[in-house]
Symmetry: C2
Subunit: 392 residues, 2 copies
């Protein structure tokens, strides 16, 4: 199980610094949770992640269920032991990938449907979702009970209830129906947790409601009224504007108990990190730092990095070929202490495996360090000043 302690509250916002106590150690919050989809943060070892200062890792149940399968993960002692990671772990329910992968397969990344047109690849019923594997076309299903059973085998410290991810844009009527199903699934998930598993796990409930203020409030109030160990805000990163994303968090938080931990699913842009922490979020996961790193988009601190360039630049551009500076001038990560922009530029141009590794390492370090700085600023009552320094 987990225990969340608030260490310090910000005077001017809902932001707080806390400690999430788990059976695999304490997570100092706010904390960024890197995503290790298939039991690996792409190209990095668990030792790298520890050196970077990562405290908690996020695994994807959809992928782990399909390969290597939850029984294999359980055979090795659960997700952490399987990948050689001694820290804290969390997994999602698998629902998000089912919905998003299915959408992409049918419509391509650029043409998302206006409604749930993915019905022929993903079938949603009151019972759960039936879907075909992107690996071999085999048929699978996630009911709330199955998702919990699979996550019990995967064995992360923190697991998530199955929710129905809504498409975007969406009508109020459809969003309400999806939310209500998410609520019924939440209750079934709590029931399913009563079956004892091998591991000592905490369950988070998920708040949905799309961009609709009344639904977000209703969902937060409903989920908060049930005995979850923590809360996750879902559906804030799919197709909505940043303002809508921040509003979704802002509307949900007041309904959640102070003394329980709050997670934002799929958020990781620098400005969003400040905004959601300010609104009371404790932890957040995102693939952005690693995914951007693998295409050569590397993070840079102010003044090089700013809101206009989204705190990043493309190291593959020819202007960096003979640049002797580190990726980010004030960064003290292993990559910035040992390699030049010119060398990393060359590795990307030559499509060398080390390119992806160095950029991923730097980008994750960057977000971890930023979050650590934010935590320190909270403890020292200067969060607003730090936010202004970064976002202007």
């Amino acid at each position: 199980m987990i225990d969340f302690k608030i260490i310090h509250k910000d005077k001017n916002s809902r932001a707080r610094a806390g400690e999430l106590h788990t059976s695999h150690g304490i997570v100092e919050t706010p904390a960024f949770v890197p995503v290790g989809t298939q039991a690996t943060v792409k190209s990095l070892t668990s030792e790298d992640l520890q050196t970077i200062g990562v405290q908690v890792l996020f695994g994807n149940t959809y992928h782990l269920h399909l390969r290597p399968g939850e029984d294999t993960v359980a055979h090795f002692g659960g997700l952490g032991k399987f990948m050689g990671w001694n820290g804290v772990t969390m997994t999602d329910s698998g629902g998000f990938q089912v919905f998003s992968l299915a959408r992409y397969r049918k419509f391509g990344k650029q043409e998302l449907p206006n409604d749930d047109g993915q019905a022929d690849l993903v079938k949603i019923t009151e019972d759960g979702v039936i879907f075909t594997s992107h690996l071999d076309g085999s048929q699978h299903s996630f009911t709330p009970e199955q998702s919990i059973a699979i996550q019990k085998k995967i064995g992360a410290d923190i697991i998530l209830a199955l929710d129905q991810c809504t498409t975007y844009p969406i009508t109020h009527e459809s969003a309400k129906a999806d939310m209500e199903r998410t609520h019924r699934w939440a209750i079934r998930s709590i029931q399913a947790m009563k079956h004892k598993g091998t591991f000592n796990q905490a369950l988070y409930g998920i708040i949905q409601g799309s961009i609709f203020a009344d639904l977000r409030r209703e969902s937060a109030a409903f989920i908060a009224s049930h005995p979850f160990d923590g809360f996750a805000i879902g559906g804030v990163s799919v197709g909505e504007t940043k303002q809508e994303m921040h509003a979704a968090v802002e509307r949900s938080i007041p309904f959640l108990p102070e003394n329980k931990v709050r997670h934002a699913l799929g958020i990781g842009d620098v400005d969003d990190i400040f905004e959601i922490i300010e609104r009371g979020i404790d932890t957040f996961d995102c693939v952005t730092p690693s995914r951007l790193g693998r295409v050569g988009h590397v993070f840079a601190m102010p003044p090089e990095g700013n809101l206009q360039n989204r705190f990043r630049y493309d190291i593959t551009k020819v202007q960096f070929a003979q640049d002797s500076m580190p990726l980010s001038v004030c960064c003290d990560c292993y990559v910035c202490k040992n390699f030049t922009r010119g060398y990393i530029h060359h590795l990307f141009r030559a499509k060398e495996l080390l390119a992806y590794r160095l950029a991923t390492y730097h980008n994750i370090y960057f977000i971890i360090q930023l979050t650590r700085k934010i935590r320190t600023s909270l403890l020292e009552n200067r969060f607003a000043a730090l936010k202004k320094q970064w976002l202007g």
Copy 2:
């Protein structure tokens, strides 16, 4: 410059343990030289290589010339500084890649021509070789003088004279003509070295002669009679049998001065390592450990590894899915201490970047450790026993 000291000679063979003193430290020989073709040993950092115990790295002039270009490498202070490697470096002349890449492009890897049918992509004249880049089709040339000039900019501690790599099979007449051209190019390379460069570099001469005993002897005697700092035996890995490869080394060695270092180009199989060291080789480079690692072929020590399975097995096979053992039971490398076969099997099945990194690390560690064991066995007068233990 370099200085080679013999520390101990084996009583029953030509094998010796030595020290190669360079301006970037001492290389304890026999030593394996991993190949970092494009200024990176694929997927590994220089810190990894240091932890593994690598003493000297091999870069490929053909690749570095085309990308990022020798001027860029020079701009960053030479190969070692460019890639963040503080140890010893060596580069080849570029010739081998010109000949082999050209052959592959025209005929495919499975259909090597019987003669130098690559003439339309690589034109060989007395002056040098003219070739087209595999990257963009641009035309380039390597004369002995140009190869030295390029290698002076790349700045490795040890550089190689341009040689004419022969095809295989080949007639005695053609092999003799190629060898004689290699000899004329060797003299021009020594001349070219007299132009002062930025770096303190040693030049190796290359012995050719294909599978013909008289030519190998003639070539060794000729090259040995010129003021090279060390000697490399070339053309022993292209198309010949292992027996012919060992014979080519055996025939050359007696003509080389005892007190100069001897390198075998492109050799790295476990049995060959024993055989060439026994015949008097001090250092050898090979892409095999890293290249095999990236397709999931991992090395194993006796008794798991043996001559029949070539000291390796395919970790991608389904039998390893739930195997909790390390890659090699008695290996004490970082990978074997921290990860199971089952996890690495999963990474390969999922095509995860970490798979290539872990397998490469383990395989290079394996060969480095084997070579270190051989050195210790020489110092302790039990080389023959170690060879028998490994090869039976």
